[in-house]
Amino acid sequence: MKTSTLLIRTPEGIVFAQLLAGPVSRFLAWLVDLCCIVVINMIVNLLIGLLAVLNPDFAQGLYMIGFFVIGVGYGIVCEWAMRGQTIGKKAFRLRVVDVEGLRLQFNQIVTRNLLRFVDSLPAFYFVGGLVCWFSPKCQRLGDIAANTIVVRVPKISEPDLDQLLAGKFNSLRQHPHLAARLRQQVSSSEASVALAALVRRDEFDPVARVELFSELASHFHAKVAFPAEATDGVADEQFIRNVVDVIFRGRPKDETKMAT
């Protein structure tokens, strides 16, 4: 079954997920790498051009070998030196890793890069892209042979909750048992959507903003039924603020004391 994440269970029983990179982001990364290869070739040709004044035949030979070596070696050298990344992959936050989560070996890097010759057939990585599209782990042929996958490297940024929620009275906190139930009922993706909506609230058109928060509010109202005094007169956007506050901030100290 095709999935966007690969779950790996460690012998300690911990499960971690690797976010698999899709064919489109990989193709874009390859385009950047192609530009890099062209630029490196141009620089090398410029240097070889100086040699051509002394010996044109030798320069011609060097040019051909240089073109071949740069084309094949770029991926190998970059992925080895930059721990599974090329310049293109770094730009798109992608990384080549072992399919079992182990350390990437040099022979895996060589194998996956040599099989580019087959993956790139007939042009623009059509075969590789097609295989990647249908592969459960988004692997091209080179990845299958080398036992590697390309994963997305998450950008770690913690939301600035203090700036978002500072100084606001939260009517939902007046009902700690319901707030606790809300924290239990809400999934991580639902919480992320609510938080993202608040973070990006100023980017929306006014009408779209009202509609979005109205939709979100009705969704969270359905999760846990708070009494009317906690929600009456509270705008949809404010209600979502309160929900995010409850979910992300957990129990304040006085509430914890009450619970114990």
Binding site: R9, V15, A17, G61, G142, V153, R183, I247, R249, G250
Partner: protein, 358 residues
Amino acid sequence: MIIDLQKFAAAGRPTWTELERWLDRLEDKHRDRMTLDELQRFHRLYERTAADLARIATFSAEPETRRYLENLVARAYGEIHETREKRARIQPLTWFFQTFPQTFRKHARQFYLSVTITLIGCLFGGFAIAYDPGSKSVLLPFEHLQGDPAKRVAKEEAVARDELRGAKTGFSAFLMTHNTQVSVFTLGLGITWGVGTAIMLFYNGIILGAISVDYIHAGQTKFLLGWLLPHGVIEIPAILIAGQAGLVLALAMIGWGTRIPFGARLRKVSGDLMTLIFGVAIMLVWAGLVEAFFSQYHEPILPYELKIGFGVCELILLVLFLSKSGKKGSKFQVPSSGMDKGNLEAQTTRHLERETPN
């Protein structure tokens, strides 16, 4: 389980940051070795971070922190659970005189299969030219080979000056890169369960057989041997070894006669494929030099006996190298080719553990 995220993050952050520093250091310095104390500390940090990940996995509202911890645990897991040998440094001479011929012999059956497929192609090409000389235009892709061999020989032998003067290095580089590309392609097509590799070998055989029969039929055997042997005795075995590598890959894909899982099979041959293809590349560099600087010169510039003798010497040396070099009793110490039995079993067990549903 509901946890106080801020308290949880404040308590865990020093551990996470320290683990991240360790990981950066390990990943930046490939050859860095840790002391026992450092290893114990690193393992403790890994365990604590993994425990934090297990806790936050039950907390719905913090996907970013969970991803951060997953990233840390994934990186540390790769460092801690990696059991494959990590070579300290590259030893080119040991690799060339020992690892390469040993790897070649290890997969001798695939080499014989590669030779057999090529020979079948040779027979097909030879018969096709013998019974239908008109098929030359279809079978032979090179324009200069489509004419009458006798006329070509007469033309080549009439040349008094060096026609490749000022272009030998370029021609040599072209041959090296082109043949290496073909070899890599032949290896890579092993991923098609060997069908593509077999087609490439068969097609190469057809060309070789067709040219040979064409020149022998025209009474130009001596020219043919003098022209092909000096570079062909290295170039043709190189393509055959590339085919061997492709068939090694194909066999790992098919998994015939083994209960090792798919991933472990590919992992097992990965190092051997690299060894074989680098060996092929070196052979093709030599063949390219010989073809451009030696093979293209015929009588009266170079006597055919000399060229044939040179080719035969090369062939004897190559056979001796591939069959004898690096055998037991050699003074060289043998590095493992990427996975010993213990490693394979450990990885197979780990793989099976993951595959087995709880």
